[in-house]
Every structure is written in structure tokens, then in C-alpha cells.
Symmetry: C2
Subunit: 460 residues, 2 copies
Amino acid sequence: MPDSPDNAIRFVHENNPRFLAELSNFLKIPSISTDPDHQPDMLRAAEWLTENMRQVGLENIQIFKTKKHPIVFGEILNAGSQAPTILVYGHYDVQPAEPLDLWKTEPFSPAQIGDCLYARGASDMKGQIIATLKAVEAVLATSKLPVNIKFFFEGEEEIGSPSLDEFMENHKEMLSCDFVLNPDAGMVAAEIPTIVYALRGLAYFELRVFGPEHDLHSGIFGGVVHNPAQVLCDLISAMHDEHGRVMLPGFYDNVRDLSTEERLELSRLPIDEKYYQIKTGVSEIWGEDTYSPAERVGARPTLEVNGMLSGFTGKGSKTVIPSWAMAKISTRLVPDQNPDEVNQQLRSFLQTHAPKTVHWDLISFHGGPASISDRNLPATQALMNTLEKVWGSKPVFKREGGSIPVVASVKRILGVESVLSGFGLPDDNAHGPNEKLELVTWKRGIDALTYFIFNIFGNL
Amino acid sequence: MPDSPDNAIRFVHENNPRFLAELSNFLKIPSISTDPDHQPDMLRAAEWLTENMRQVGLENIQIFKTKKHPIVFGEILNAGSQAPTILVYGHYDVQPAEPLDLWKTEPFSPAQIGDCLYARGASDMKGQIIATLKAVEAVLATSKLPVNIKFFFEGEEEIGSPSLDEFMENHKEMLSCDFVLNPDAGMVAAEIPTIVYALRGLAYFELRVFGPEHDLHSGIFGGVVHNPAQVLCDLISAMHDEHGRVMLPGFYDNVRDLSTEERLELSRLPIDEKYYQIKTGVSEIWGEDTYSPAERVGARPTLEVNGMLSGFTGKGSKTVIPSWAMAKISTRLVPDQNPDEVNQQLRSFLQTHAPKTVHWDLISFHGGPASISDRNLPATQALMNTLEKVWGSKPVFKREGGSIPVVASVKRILGVESVLSGFGLPDDNAHGPNEKLELVTWKRGIDALTYFIFNIFGNL
């Protein structure tokens, strides 16, 4: 019979200040995977992780090179072959910090203000990585680990995990497990423990529209040259109808309908118009009006402009017809849409809608399908019990609007389901300026993960 | 009886290399009026001008302070009160040089490649200023000047001449003249001498659309928050119909129709679809299909997106819903539209079309009405004769698509017409990268201006 978790929890509480200091050191490394200038920082972050994993007490720690950023692995398999094996997934890369002028603190100089720690990656997901590692450290330091645990960290999640699938295909034995614990999901609110059972997929594009060979004087040429910025606006505008529906041809053909039971379950989430108004500061929310806000974010696909650039954008005025215009456009996908199909749908849309007065080019970035898992999995039920113990209330089930493509990959390649935890909050500004981690929730999260390691054997 | 122009023309030809060297020095000063960082360069450019005017032999040279950039004045009134007085207008400020990476040479290090001089301001309009000053220098150095000449240079043309009208109101006596010679117009082609008799006006705006308080994670919030970049695209897209007509309410109400005679005159211009395809590199031209290209550029109003910015525009991908989106939007106006009315029309359009899910702000930059003058003015006829002498072919009359608001101002304040010359070419990239001046045409222009000074008395 395994030990009681009490000693481990005590260890967690006593060592919380050190855990926070370690997280701060980790956050100081600007591991921005999308920016080639930060390649050396990616390696530093991977090496920092192996150092910390050694301190936790993991074994067989390795850094695997990939074409872009290294994968870090470590394990502890002392529980024996009868005990279950958990594969913990995480990513140590972060989003770019721009726009820098909107940060109130330096993005890579973690700053604690009140109960929050501000830094790029604090919530997404270095805070979650440290929470999981420290929970295992606490158990290892105080009792016999009742399960086998493998840790598996990539550095390419924010750029679509280009090396991940091939790596998993080539290391199936090393990564074999009973289920994946993925702490890259989040909570509905600090007081509402949340279990995410579905994630949206992603297909990301850059659309470039080319007009004249160079910027033109808008007086000399205005009236005879089709303005590529205007064409881009026409195209983007035509991508939605007035009801907020995406107009790419066939976009909804494979979208799985919500069952009445699932709509009822989702209606229990404390996520309504007011919730989103408060979280975002908008005066009115928007979207497909035949679906609730929780359904729109979790179970309906969307198309977003993530960025746009054309012509003169400095101070003052400049009277040019721009030579080109660019937009970053991404779609969030739901079961059973496919990123490659959406790529074709967008190309087909552009072929139909783009006028002959311009040229266009569509660059496909990373993508991944959506995923959905059974709410009755034993590991999911164990997580439910754990969260209820720490928070004192029954968790809600949620479909997450974000994308964690690895969930679909581990299902396909390793044949296992993922249990999604994570203690980030919706207003953490995960990809925006002033990203933060709420520390009270984070500490509860470490407690919960510690209990979970015991609970998976049903002995909570 | 005045002297013959032959000696002056010889002087021009002998001194051409020096004139070019002086122009190069002038072009090295980055007199970018819209950028506050270049305030000292504006003063340097004004001082450089006074120095050159002194060398030309002008008198009463003065620099007048304004709220922004100084006005430079100089004159030579030795021809007597019976002789006509010409007021030469020019502007020594230039457009910003961005995008810098598209320049093949440094914008403020003039470089001669073949018969062209590359630099910001070479064509618009430091080259034209030097041409006019040097024509006067040539006449002064070789014979008695048969006319009185005043020079009047502002440093705020590219930002809408905010100080100009008030200055003219306060210096009517100093600026009094029989007509204005304004060399800020251009030619249709190097071999086709051109007289511009109409100019479009301008109204320039910055439209800002505000959505959520900060950039949001597009997974967590995609589906419930109206994307401000998408809203901006919807608004811009609705500003034109499918026939290229501007949809601001009342936009065409005051547009003066073209007479049959004028349409016939304009049809003689060698400006057709092919012309614009070659000048701009587009495969098809665009615009109001019931008007010819020359009519669309000269006699029809337009609305252009001059720049656009929102969200993430760096390398790679970032999955945000931007907090705001911005577009620089300008309209080119024709007689009898009014910039203030267009401002109201755009505001009214936005009030009607902007959804309640966002906030917006419209900043009005400078503007000016269009202008049109009588093709039978004596000074215009004199210019016609001069151009025909130098080029050996009859000039064409053109409505220019660009904006020279000072033409309307001198008519209103000083009560005089402008004669528009200038030796820039449509492919000089006046406001774009790699602005150039074709030197063969420029030298012909100095000859033409020299003859013009004599010809105004009818003694060519």
C-alpha cells in the first residue's frame, strides 16, 4: 500500500518559496520558438529544464535534437510494471512578447505584484511545468512514488510542433504509457476547478496581396490602380456573413453537432455574455447568435485576423497606394474538421473572390485537428476527485477554445488518451502583454497534482 | 528691348554640372516635415536655400518662423513697376523615406545611376526648386531680368501646409504678383511637354477601431469577441461598391461634371490602360468603368487606404485577437467637393456602419480643396510656347491627380492664378522608395524656365 500524501503536501507547502524562485529563473529565459534570433535561448531553456529534472530526482534525462528546438525527456520508473505509467507532456517555448510597449513590467524579468507573477510564459506554460515537476519532487522526497512517471517537454508548441509527431513515431517505446497528463489546459475561474475534455484545432495562414510593383503616389495613380489594402479588406470582409458564420466553402460540412446532453452540460459553465464582457472589456460580445458563448468558444469553429499590415503606418500622413497588404489569418477548428481541408477551402475561397487586378499568395503555417475525449475515463475521474478535494467543489467539464494539437497526436501515435489539467486562468493574457500567473491558484494546483499522483491508484 | 535669351541658355549649359552638385547637396538634408525628429533638418534646409538664393543674386532674403517649419522668401524687383511680377512657389520638405528596405540607394545620399538621380525629394520637388532658381541665376548673370521675380518656399507641403494660408494673409503685399509660377506639377512622359490646369484636393484621415482592452488569445476568446481588424476590413470594404464608386453618403453630390469638350481634350492625352500597366506593373487597371483612365485620375474623386496596421505582423505566427486596428485613409477630391464636407460624410458613414461591438476614433489630418484654372491665361499661353520651343511639339493639357492646395490658396488670398510647370515624370516614385529625377528632362526644364522668363514679355 502506498504512503499517505500528507508528507508530500507538507513538503510542497514548506518549499513553495523555492518553487517560485525556480519558476522565476525559468521565466527569465526568453524561449521564443518562432523567432530565429532566440535559438540560443531555446537551448538554454532545455538545459535549465534538465538541471531541474535532475534535482527533482528523475533518471535517464536526455536532450534530443530536432530540426528546430530540442525535446527534453526524463523518467522515474520505480513503481514497477504493475503500476500505471503517466507521461507528462509540456512545452517550454513561449509566444513572442510584442507589443512590448503595452507591458507594465519587463516580459522576461518576472515581477510579483500582489498575488500574481507577471512574465511571458508564466501561465502558458512554464508555471504549469514547474507545478508538475515540483509535485513529483514532493512525492519522491517524502515517500515511494506509487506510479511510473515520464516527462516529455517540447520547444515548438507555439509554432505548431513541427518535430513532435516524427519524434513520437521514432520513440514509441520510450514514450509508452497508460495515459498522458497534459497540464496545458486552464480553469474557468480561480474558484471553479475545471476539467477540459475537448480542444479546438488550428490552421494558421499568412495571406499576401500584391498590387503595383512599388508604393505609388495616391494622387498620380488613385482611380486606376486597385489598392491591395482595399482588396485585402474586401477578401477578409467576405470571409464572414452578417451572422458571424465563416464563409469558406464547405467550412461547416464536417463540424460535429452538439448533442442535447452536451449542450445541457455546457450550459452549467459559468460562462455567459457578462463573463466575457468583464474578461475582455468589450461592451457587447459577438458571434454566431444561435449558439451560447460557451458553445461558440468550445464547440464552434472560428476564423480570426491575427494581424494586418500594409503601406504607411508611422506618425503623420503619407499619401501612397501601398504595393502590398498582408494579413495573418487563423481558424480554430472543432471535431471533425481537418486543417488540410480548411487550407483547401481558403485557397478555393481566394480563387473565387480575389480580383484579377492583384496577385496573392497564401502561406500555410502549422495546424492541427481538434480533439475530444471521453469524460468517463478512469484518469479523468481520478482528476475530478482530486480537484474536488483541493477546491471543495465539483469540477465543471469544459470544451476549451484553444488548441493543443499534441492531444490528437498522442491518441494517434501512442494510442492513449490525455487528461487535461492546468491552473491558468482566462484573464492570464496567455498570448498578450502582461501575461500573469495567479499564485494562490498555482499553489493549489501543485497540491492537486501531488494528490493526483496518489489518487490514480484510488487511495486518496 | 530686353536681351536675347541665348547667353542665358549658354550659361545654363555650361553650369549644368554645378547645378547638379548643388541639387545633390540640397537632397542630402532629410527635410521630412511630418517627423518631429527631423525638425533641425528642416531648419538646415531652409538655411541652405537662403544661401543658394544669395548666390543666385536675390535680395531681401528672409526666413520666417511659423508654428512648425520656416518659410523662405527672396526677390529681385529690378524690372520696374511696368514689368510683370512672377511669384515662384515651392516646398523644400519631403515625404518620409519608409519603407527603407526597398530603396536600392540611400534616400538621403543622392546617387546618379545612368541618367537618373536617386534620392528622396529629387523629383518632388527639390529638383524643381533648383531648376527654377538656376534659370533665374542664368538670366541675372547674363542679361537684364525682364520681369520682377519673388521666391516663396514653404516647409509644410507634405503635411498639408498648416501655416501657409495664415502667412499669406499676413504678407499679401510682400507676395503680391501677377501670377504664381508653381513648378510642383509633372509631365505625362519625358517627350510630351505637359501643362496642368487642374489639381485634385485631399482629405486625409486615420481611422482607429478599438475592440478588447488588450490582445486576446484567439483560442480562448475566438467566437465571442468581435475582432477589430475584421471590423476595420468590413468598414473599408463597404467604402466602395463593386463599380469602384465611393460609398460615403453624398460623396458625389458636388462633383462637377466633365463637359463634352473637356472629355475630348483629355482623350488626346497618351494615358490609357496600357500606360498605367507599364508605369505600375499591374496586370489590369481598376476604377470607375464609365470614365477613361485620364478622367478617373484627373477629374474623379477617389478614396484610398494608405496604410493599415493591427495585431501581430512579425515573422511566424501568433494567435491573438488584436486589441485594435488602424487604417490611414485619404480621399482625392475634385471641383467642387470640400474637405470638411468629406470629413462629415466619413463620420456619418462610420456612425451608420460601425457595429456596437467596437469603439472607433477618426483623426482628421490636413486637407485642401481641388483647383482648376482657365487654359487661356496669357501666362499659360506663354508657357505653352516655351515648352513647344524646347521640346519641339505642342504641349498637352492635363488634369493632375495629385494635390497642390496652395493653388486654391493663392487664388483665394492673393487673387491670382497659378501656372503649373514642373519636370517630374509619373514613374519618378515621388512618394515611394527609389524616388528619382530624370536628368535629361530636368536640364530641358531649366532651359524652358529660362526661356519662359523672357517669353512672358512676348519676345521669344
